[in-house]
Symmetry: C2
Subunit: 473 residues, 2 copies
């Protein structure tokens, strides 16, 4: 049993050993994971009872009833499924991982005070490669513990993020940010855009779990000309693009004043909607925006907690889903959430759209869960790779304990996952067949070293906060 | 160490033994509970670091810095506070505990289908004293594990509820329901009202942790005449009253059609607002209703998850607080939530009123936490008894672990409690000085027996659901 910390490379090597003697090549596998309940999240596949998923070389090679799987396959390792739900790992479609180091630093301020008085000055002062490495590790630890297996990141020093992702075993789309203002490491647009193109070029096709992306910040911080440059370069490199879009009323007003249109029509008009685009937030939309988004196959990432906490508004998610938009869920950064718990976003999405419409049948539990898995994977343009448990797809999956007393009684597994489950009920996290957490023990990161690094970084931030408060007093 | 199950009576006896030899009577105590962070929730008292609370005979006799407490007091028992927040236990102002047995039975239906097709028929078929005993025990288990120490209940067979409360050690206001329609055990108003009066008479002043109450269901299910009868009887007996009030648009329309006024003005006009009233929901309010509520000292219980899930609307909580209304929080029953996790209500309240107003400064974290403690206690008319850690008040308190990785880094304890904490971070639950949970082990209920009883009850419900589905197919 792999209960102790083991470096990634050892684990990978171990998983790649030949199958046990006696098993014929045809039925040899690396790993079988069982579940009393198996949710494939394939819309055509009902919930299975007492079933299993078979993994070989990181890929799902069989899904079915336990009895048949046990007759057919011999595996080097297996994980029991008594009292557990087995399902695809969750997809966090929008976050800024390193900002976990700012978790709870300041809350409940108006947006401009929060950004200009705290977030931007603290970023300017503290964000460097060390900060990003530590913050990303802390975020990845939390995501592994909460059952998130894929995330879309947008933060400075993306090479540091990629290096943590390589080590910890998660899957990620990593956007290299570019913006028309000075930002950590850059003087403005020119150098941040050049660095993004360089990052995409170096990481494109380099690692099976990492997708590099362009990340122009937002239509109100990147000029039309610079967004067009992004379109050209991303098209040339065949790259994914992620950006903030139509988040808050101030953006809508700014774009209306500058360009006399909506944020969505503005960026679509610049060619952004011809790219594989991951658009975060998508709150301020009219009917024409929704039609345009659906037709272009743009993925929309709904961040209910962040939108609520910052008072941004309520995204028209049911209308987007009805129009055929692939809508995923995101936590946004921990500075505006304040955690990376995607289960809370699932629940929040299910509840928020009921109260917004006054209709308790809006956003049923199964639809909220689909946004965190199948639809979320499609929204980040990885719908053929992850988000469902199907033969040929990557073996990204999680096991959940549904036997704790807060799950009693159990009539409907999906209801419990959406309305009852805590992230601490996640028992197992697997990406590309590698077990990242087993019985809640994270196997690919060193908790002691991580805690020490977080403590060093946060001591400096705490001191700066105190100084700022003293200067103001 | 009291880590194993022990009957309540044994524990109480043990706590009441004389103080240890060597301690003078003046400094002898039963229990000292420490906390690296101590939140008294007294608005005049800042957060304390490295502090403790001293308990004698169920009452708080000292609160202060650890050093002074250790110099002053000798106690029979103590609970360490490293890495822990010590604060008042939470107050759940509105629930229907036994409905935990219907948790997740059916979701996401329109209100009338949900009630008339599932909830009412299932209640009619299954609710008996056994059902209520089992469902209440399950609910109390969950509340003890989640750090709720006081709850306001409204469900059938209140004597069964009281008996579970006596055994498990929680504190409760128990409303005996009366309604103008047949309900479990009753043919209609006459017998359900007579039983309520009898329940209040028998339990008034009988047990220090139990407050009996009248529970007329709602203004749309109890006639004006019968509400007046409740006012008379409750006044005569000096009893608390709890009811559903101004929950959903259908109620507002019904009251407008029948009585040409708002639900709040309707019941206030009948004299209900002269009573110590606990009004659950309070969603459909106008400015006059809020002024009336504040002036009368009526407690309002906000149930954000239930209101969202049932699409009832958004309660004007910030306006109520500004007007001086004591607003508490409630989970409502597990059939419409689907758990009894008050931490989720705290977070939901903090987030919902920001998005409803478009103002991220609305409902700051500290105010949301106050609704779950000090304000919630005041709303249920126990503000002099619980909800703050102060000398002379009942020793109802909890310890929370804030050292887990999802709490890193820690800049502000209150921010983490509101935006990050999971109910599984609660370590210790104490009511009237009795330790109900220690290191997450519940000491006053028998988990094995509870699981067996829940299994028996839910098997019958599951079978009935299946039959209903087959009949419909």
């Amino acid at each position: 049993m792999l209960k102790l910390f083991a470096p990634c490379s050892l684990l990978l090597g171990w998983l790649m050993l030949p199958v046990v003697a006696g098993a014929s090549p045809g039925n040899g596998a690396d790993l079988i994971v069982y579940g009393d309940y198996l949710l494939t999240m394939d819309p055509g596949q009902p919930e299975l009872r007492d079933a299993a998923v078979v993994v070989r070389e990181g890929v799902i090679v069989d899904v079915g009833p336990r009895e048949r799987i046990d007759r057919t396959w011999v595996a080097r390792d297996s994980i029991a499924g008594e009292g557990r739900v087995l399902m695809p790992g969750l997809v966090n479609g929008h976050t800024h991982t390193a900002m976990t180091l700012f978790r709870g630093m300041v809350d409940d301020l108006d947006l401009m005070t929060w950004l200009n008085h705290y977030v931007f000055p603290m970023e300017g002062r503290f964000v460097d490669p060390d900060f990003v490495r530590t913050g990303t590790e802390l975020a990845c630890w939390e995501m592994i513990r909460g059952g998130t297996t894929t995330f879309v990141d947008m933060y400075f020093y993306p090479d540091e993020i990629a290096s943590v992702v390589e080590r910890c075993g998660l899957r990620a789309v990593i956007g290299s940010p570019h913006i028309d203002f000075p930002s950590p490491g850059f003087t403005g647009w020119e150098d941040s855009f050049a660095a993004a193109a360089d990052f995409v070029r170096r990481w494109q096709g380099r690692h099976p779990r990492i997708t590099p992306a362009f990340a122009p910040h937002a239509p109100y911080t990147v000029s039309a000309e610079h967004l067009q440059a992004t379109v050209e370069k991303a098209t040339e490199l065949g790259a994914v693009v992620t950006m903030h879009l139509a988040e808050a009323p101030a953006e809508t007003e700014f774009i209306a004043a500058e360009y006399d249109t909506s944020p969505v029509r503005h960026v679509a008009g610049l060619g952004m909607f011809r790219l594989p685009l991951i658009a975060a937030h998508m709150v301020q939309l009219d009917a024409a925006d929704i039609t345009l988004t659906a037709g272009a196959g743009v993925g929309a990432i709904h961040n209910p907690t962040s939108n609520m906490k910052l008072g941004a508004g309520i995204s028209p998610v049911p209308a987007m889903l009805a129009a055929g938009v692939n809508v995923g869920l995101g936590t946004d950064g921990a500075a505006s959430n304040n955690d990376l718990d995607l289960w809370e976003e699932v629940r929040m999405a299910a509840l928020l759209h009921k109260v917004a419409s006054g209709d308790p049948t809006a956003m049923p539990a199964g639809q909220a869960l689909a946004m965190a898995t199948r639809l979320g994977a499609a929204a980040i343009h990885l719908g053929d790779v992850v988000g469902q448990l199907k033969t040929g797809m990557q073996a990204d999956m999680i096991q959940l304990d549904v036997t704790r007393t807060h799950h009693l009684p159990l009539y409907d597994v999906i209801s419990h996952l959406v309305y009852v489950l805590d992230s601490q009920d996640v028992q197992t996290t697997i990406v590309a067949g590698q077990v990242l957490m087993r019985d809640r023990q994270v196997l690919t990161l060193d908790e002691t070293a991580l805690r020490a690094a977080v403590s060093r970084a946060s001591d400096r931030i705490r001191k700066a906060l105190r100084e700022q408060q003293e200067n103001e007093a």
